[in-house]
């Protein structure tokens, strides 16, 4: 799930490896609490799974 990208962290105070951040147009704009980030990721995975069930692999990839 997801993608790998180089982003800039100019706007995050004391960034650390393992931080979860919200990214907008190539820049991290805010740090997200880990618990929240994991919940969000989980709900996206559920969504992906649901799309996969309904439309098959092709649609899940393009969505």
């Amino acid at each position: 799930m997801g993608m790998r990208r180089k982003i800039r962290i100019d706007f995050i105070e004391n960034p650390r490896v393992g931080d979860y951040v919200i990214v907008h147009a190539g820049f991290a704009i805010e740090r997200l609490p880990e618990k929240q980030a994991l919940e969000d990721l989980e709900s996206w995975e559920e969504l992906e799974e649901a799309i996969y069930q309904e439309y098959g692999m092709q649609a899940a990839r393009t969505e």
Partner: protein, 369 residues
């Protein structure tokens, strides 16, 4: 709380009259259309899309200037994807068409990529089309300063960046403005903070809720707005606390004010609004495409073009100010389609018309006759 429970809670509210609420964020427009929230709400609750989609608020005169600039053989335009199909004042004329005619137009994901493009093409002038609000402005500034620091001299930004507050003030000053509460954009608020929207209840007694982007976030915000209205207690509430603090992102704010100054700028549908456009400070004029290409992008040049243009029947301006819904535009779904858009609201996936068309419900078909 889940979506079903929130919907029941909203339906249970004692609403006497019709209520119009407005969101002012392209991502909200899409999320609302996609999740079918409008159809889940009681009939009395109307949701409108305001001026929150960056390309939708860009006036035709600026697009015309961009199209002209694109034809210069020494220029590469770097842009977010949704700008490519926005027509100027001539229907059908857009960057995609100009590209077919030989213009060099590159879609980038970030202004940082545009700086890279300039590095790779030292013999060309790379102009980044800077659209967006406070969410994109700090990154645009940071990328431009990087270009300057690294001695990349062939990179400039055409800044069409805008700020949300002056536009909301202009909206509320319209005689026929009928909105009774704002769903405030979560990611703009991430940057400017809760305090950036405090003027709504304080100065205008306007209910305001900062909202996230899941269906539940939006429904919860709607419930809060309606509750405020019923209790006649307008205030600012933050429904997106996980990403929005009271002061906002100070580093990003600092970058924005270091680089830009607020000037009068034109908005589609709203006209000229004082202090609503972010333009480069004089000390950064080397990064300013308006200064590099004054004969095309300069204010004077655009004024001349504007006076020469013909206005088509497109009513995007009325759509983004909440005067009409997309389906009430005579072109919607007929002459103006996502494949062949007349106005910017049908181009961008964040545009109210494109979202309404893509997720069109029976009501819109009926309204449209």
């Amino acid at each position: 709380m889940n979506a079903d429970k929130l919907c029941s809670a909203i339906k249970a509210l004692p609403l006497k009259e019709e209520v119009c609420l407005m969101e002012v964020c392209g991502t909200h427009t899409m999320a609302i259309a996609k999740s079918g929230i409008k159809s889940m709400l009681p009939e009395k609750v109307k949701l409108l899309s305001g001026p929150g989609c960056p390309v939708c608020v860009t006036p035709a005169s600026e697009i015309d200037a961009i199209l002209e600039l694109s034809m210069r053989p020494d220029v590469i335009l770097a842009t977010y994807g949704d700008m490519v199909r926005v027509p100027g004042s001539v229907p059908g004329d857009n960057l995609a068409r100009r590209r077919a005619l030989g213009a060099q137009v590159q879609v980038v994901y970030s202004p940082v990529d545009a700086v890279e493009l300039a590095k790779q093409n030292p013999e060309k002038e790379v102009v980044f089309l800077g659209v967006g609000f406070e969410t994109t402005a700090p990154g645009t500034a940071a990328a431009a300063l990087t270009a300057s620091d690294k001695g990349v001299k062939n990179f400039t930004v055409f800044s069409m960046l805008k700020t949300v507050e002056p536009a909301l003030r202009a909206l509320m000053a319209m005689d026929d403005f009928r909105v009774q509460g704002f769903l405030c954009p979560g990611h703009v608020a991430t940057i400017i903070g809760e305090k950036g929207f405090a003027f709504l209840p304080e100065k205008y007694r306007m209910p305001a809720v900062i909202a996230g982007f899941e269906a539940e976030d939006i429904l919860a915000a709607i419930w809060r707005l309606l509750t405020q209205l019923i209790n006649r207690e307008p205030k600012l509430e933050n429904e997106y606390k996980r990403a929005v603090s009271e002061p906002g992102n100070l580093l990003a704010q600092k970058m924005m004010t270091a680089c830009f100054t607020a000037e009068t700028t034109e908005w589609r549908g709203l006209g000229s609004i004082p202090k609503s456009g972010l333009k480069f400070r004089p000390e950064f004029s080397a990064l300013d495409a308006e200064k590099r290409f004054p004969e095309v992008l300069g204010e004077e040049a655009r004024r001349i073009q504007k006076s020469a243009r013909i206005t088509p029947a497109c009513r995007c301006g009325d759509v983004i100010t909440g005067r009409i819904s997309p389906a009430q535009c005579p072109l919607f779904g007929k002459r103006c389609l996502p494949e062949d858009p007349v106005g910017p609201c049908m181009v961008s996936s964040e545009g109210a018309c494109a979202a309404a068309y893509k997720y069109m419900d029976i009501d819109s078909f009926e309204e449209n006759g």
